[in-house]
């Protein structure tokens, strides 16, 4: 029996599994029970494990080797400047000078990836990662790798914009909020969440605009800013006002042309959200 790589993308709302059938990547999804996944933490591990196993069983996926993408919440990232990769383990474990993130070095798992001239570190609390490992173990599946939905989507953004813009403002929904990631030459330099509670959209958009302008001034780079909106089509138009054509800004959204054929969902699955789509493509691009 041949092993088959399966990407499992977990969000707070649902689980998406994606696997290759000949040249096409198929996917199916199952919605978690309410409150099963809160803040990125699986709260009903047994039930979630069974749902994962059942989804693959019903899809006739035999010999799955899982690669898990963690949800948005519960994972942090930082760009590290001036740290050589040889010493990264001691930097991540240094309790005297911990990274400026909410994770305790002794109670978290982290890893780094080279990113331009620096390093990009991502970390997750120990309890959260062990909980997700437990979910996969409940499904009796081997877990090969754990990544993060945002990192994987960023890889796709970088791939699609590599020759088109040095600065990218990437806006996407984060629960009921908006999340803005500002990317300079592939490096995510700013990551900010804008709450939309009790605020009209135009006010939030103004905050977004100001943040982008402040960053541009700070970076002292003019022009060539591209926008990437990861919203459903119905909402996409609402954010077009953010693009300042007078400053030569433009929309970068485009169809993925990375020679990956991703099927539509099966059996009435809800379509992939743009962020889910980007994240899956980020994993599949690395696999193909």
């Amino acid at each position: 029996m041949a092993a088959r790589r399966v990407v499992a993308l977990a969000t707070e709302r649902r689980l998406i599994c994606c696997w290759q059938v000949k040249s096409v990547w198929c996917w199916r999804s199952v919605d978690w029970p309410s409150d099963a996944c809160v803040g990125g933490m699986p709260a009903q591990r047994d039930a979630m494990g069974e749902m994962l196993a059942e989804l693959l069983f019903e899809s006739d996926v035999i010999g799955a080797q899982l690669e898990l993408l963690l949800p948005l919440d519960g994972v942090d990232w930082r760009v590290l400047d001036g740290v050589q990769s040889d010493f990264i383990d001691s930097v991540l474990a240094d309790q005297d000078q911990p990274l400026q993130w909410p994770l305790n070095p002794l109670e978290s798992y982290s890893c780094v990836s080279p990113c331009s001239d620096g390093l990009l570190a991502i970390g997750v609390s120990r309890s959260m990662l062990l909980s997700w490992i437990d979910v996969v173990e409940q499904a009796d599946l081997p877990l090969r790798r754990v990544d993060w939905i945002l990192m994987s989507a960023l890889r796709t953004i970088n791939y699609l914009t590599v020759d088109r813009a040095r600065q990218v403002a990437w806006l996407f929904p984060h629960g009921s909020a908006l999340r803005l990631v500002l990317i300079q030459d592939g490096v995510p330099e700013v990551d900010h969440i804008f709450s939309m509670a009790d605020k009209p959209l135009n006010i939030v958009m103004s905050e977004v605009r100001r943040t982008v302008s402040a960053w541009q001034q700070l970076m002292n780079v003019r022009g060539m800013l591209g926008w990437w909106f990861s919203f459903p089509d119905s909402l996409q138009q609402s954010f077009m006002e953010l693009i300042d054509i007078d400053r030569d800004e433009r929309l970068l959204n485009q169809v993925f042309d990375g020679n990956i054929e991703l099927s539509d969902g099966l059996h009435g699955d809800e379509p992939l959200e743009p962020l889910e789509h980007l994240a899956l493509l980020g994993m599949l691009k690395e696999m193909t």
């Binding site: 990192m151 994987s152 590599v162 592939g186 690395e286």
Partner: protein, 229 residues
């Protein structure tokens, strides 16, 4: 833009694996095509092995069949030869038996003059033989014993019995009087049975002594020819 490198895929499981004493990275997955190739290779090797074995068995079968065919022919020849040998043996045995019978008859003491001479020699003067029945292993003699001045009839019968028993071809005790009865005259009628050992043959010299020169010559001739006597 030109120097931008795409981000490699991180692995948050790395530290956990190290904690558990496992390699930092998952072992690479063998692509399904690899499995297919490997399985095809193994299958081809197995198929080749099976074909070679089949070919060898086929050759072996043909060789054995050839040996069997040759053996069958040999067996048939042996069976025929055995049959012929058996026939020959039977014929030879019959011939030998016939020859023995013929030679026995040729040199039979009890059917020739030597027998009569010997009979004369063992018969006392006072006994007259009425009938003599010669069988292969027995003589049956019916006669009359006449008393003379020295012996009566019974003594004469006793004498002839003892004379017969003294012959080499008559086993001890095999000559006996079956019946002896006096008649109206002085004579005594008797029936004497004499057993004969057929294995004891007379020599040519004995035959000559009995005056059977012709029989002795036949005997010698047959002996020279190596025939059983």
């Amino acid at each position: 833009m030109a120097g931008r490198t795409l981000l490699p895929v991180p692995d948050l499981l790395r530290q956990r694996r190290v904690e558990l004493g496992l390699p930092a990275s998952s072992p690479p997955l063998r692509p399904a095509l690899g499995y297919v190739g490997m399985a095809s290779g193994i299958g081809a090797v197995l198929l080749a092995a099976v074909l070679i074995m089949y070919w060898q068995l086929l050759n072996r079968e043909q060789t054995l069949q050839q040996i069997l065919n040759d053996s069958s022919q040999t067996e048939q020849r042996v069976a025929k030869a055995k049959s012929r040998l058996k026939k020959s043996t039977t014929s030879a045995a019959k011939l030998e038996q016939d020859t023995e019978q013929i030679t026995t008859q040729l040199v039979s003491l009890r059917s020739g003059s030597a027998f009569l001479e010997q009979l004369r020699r063992v018969t006392p003067v006072g006994i007259s033989l009425q009938t003599v029945v010669v069988q292969p292993v027995q003589l049956r003699i019916n006669g009359l014993a006449h008393p003379n001045g020295r012996a009566d009839g019974y003594e004469q019968i006793n004498a002839i019995t003892l004379n017969f028993e003294s012959l080499p071809a008559v086993p001890l005790g095999s000559a006996f009087v079956e019946k002896a009865q006096g008649t109206d005259a002085d004579s005594t009628n008797f029936i004497l049975q004499v057993g004969i050992d057929p294995s004891i043959k007379p020599t040519p010299q004995q035959l000559r002594e009995l005056g059977a020169d012709g029989l002795a010559s036949r005997f010698e001739f047959l002996q020279k020819q190596g025939l059983p006597l």
